[in-house]
Amino acid sequence: MNNFQYARATDVADAIRLLAADLGAKLIAGGTNLIDLMKENVERPSRLIDISRLPLRNVEETADGSLRIGALVPNSDLAYHPLIEQRYPLLASAILAGASAQLRNMASVGGNLMQRTRCPYFYDTATPCNKRNPGSGCSAMDGLNRNHAILGTSAACIATNPSDMSVALAALGALVHIAGPSGERTIALTDFHRLPGNTPHVDTNLGTGEIITAIELPPHGFAQNYSYLKIRDRMSYAFALVSVAAALELEGNAISGARVAVGGVAHKPWRSLEAETALRGQAATPDHFSHAADLLLQGATSRSHNGFKVELARRAIVRTLAQAANATPQSQAHKKIA
């Protein structure tokens, strides 16, 4: 780890001031990803601005029935929050599918959105990586790319976003509240993360000197018909090969609303409005789920080792939609897939 200065922010405005004063500074909250990247010399901040004591730990209902979640709420506290368990069980399930109990106790909601890819070449400073060192090349392209993206890739980068929480947030239509030097703004979670394009070193649309202050969940939580299915190489404490967050609104057996987000396949949670529109008005049957999966996976491309992900994702989407329709959501503890 390189040497760095340490400062403790006294409030959000102070954090923004401290960020503006040192272009090499980074915010730290839970630190579970940043400290690891610093040990690997991938991140080399000149200064850490400790925001962990700022008063951004509330989960509160707003006047319109939305839920506003402070950026510093630990992942575990959010997953076990009564309002999340009751109204947004899809989010609770996705959070509990990620990391370990110890890490969830430390990691913040805002930090979860800011975590970097786990591409092994991004971590290995001895190899070229356009995300870590822009213009140096992509070692994954013709290297060990079994866990890499099949959608929205570019010639510069095929990394995936590792977050489970973000997949559920994308399906639920969450908003991200941001504060910065020029005031406050709100953007959709689905616009928060970027596709790699020619600038894979830029993961998100968070601007220079900005800080996430809260996540907002719209009133509708799809608490009846939902499932989060995560497929991985070991049964727990591993990143997804493919994960699916599915949420349905049913009238009898007819679908009146559908949300599907896929994780582990792209640089951001993958949604397709075309697929969701195609499900609307249809019967909740495997053939319609299969059609939606085809639409979600339109344009999928693979490299030498990750071709299996296309079919894996297709089957996972169909299976997760069936779990949601049957109101038999995947348990994260009991591993049998219904």
């Binding site: 780890m1 040497n3 760095f4 200065q5 340490y6 004063a21 040192d22 090499g24 730290i28 630190g31 579970t32 400290i35 690891d36 610093m38 040990k39 000149s46 200064r47 850490l48 400790d50 962990s52 575990s76 076990y80 990391a99 370990s100 109990a101 110890q102 890490l103 106790n105 430390m106 049964m235 727990s236 404490y237 994260q332 503890a333 009991h334 591993k335």
Partner: protein
Amino acid sequence: MSDLTHQIPERIPIHLVVNGVNHTLDLVPWTTLLDALRDHLALSGTKKGCDHGQCGACTVLVNGRRVNSCLTLAVMKDGAEITTVEGLAKDGALHPVQQAFIDHDAFQCGYCTPGQICSAAGLLAEGRARDADEIRELMSGNLCRCGAYPNIVAAIQQAMGQP
């Protein structure tokens, strides 16, 4: 402000309550809680396994919650109460998880054991695990390369008061 970035980082005075004992330390900011415990307070019960949050050997309780001490900076925990494996026994009596690990022979080489025990103590305090499947899932952040998992699960069930 630019000269700020070129200052030599100074040691920062911090206060920790470790296993009920007050400590004041002057630490450089990149000292992890794990290194503070082991190298500055001579509490070597907490183990450094992977040092990357992947094995759980460094698990301690911070203000009663289990965390990976290797991914925590000591300066960020200024004022916190830390419990390590050395602090679990009370008045000469082992913590129920410690006793259960002995009763069930829940270890082989023992290197992961302090982390397993602190993690299990945290799991009991959280109260979220109700059966063996849930214990396995909520203990998945603690690896045991000897493979003592069946006995670890049995020990935790005993500590939970399950048959």
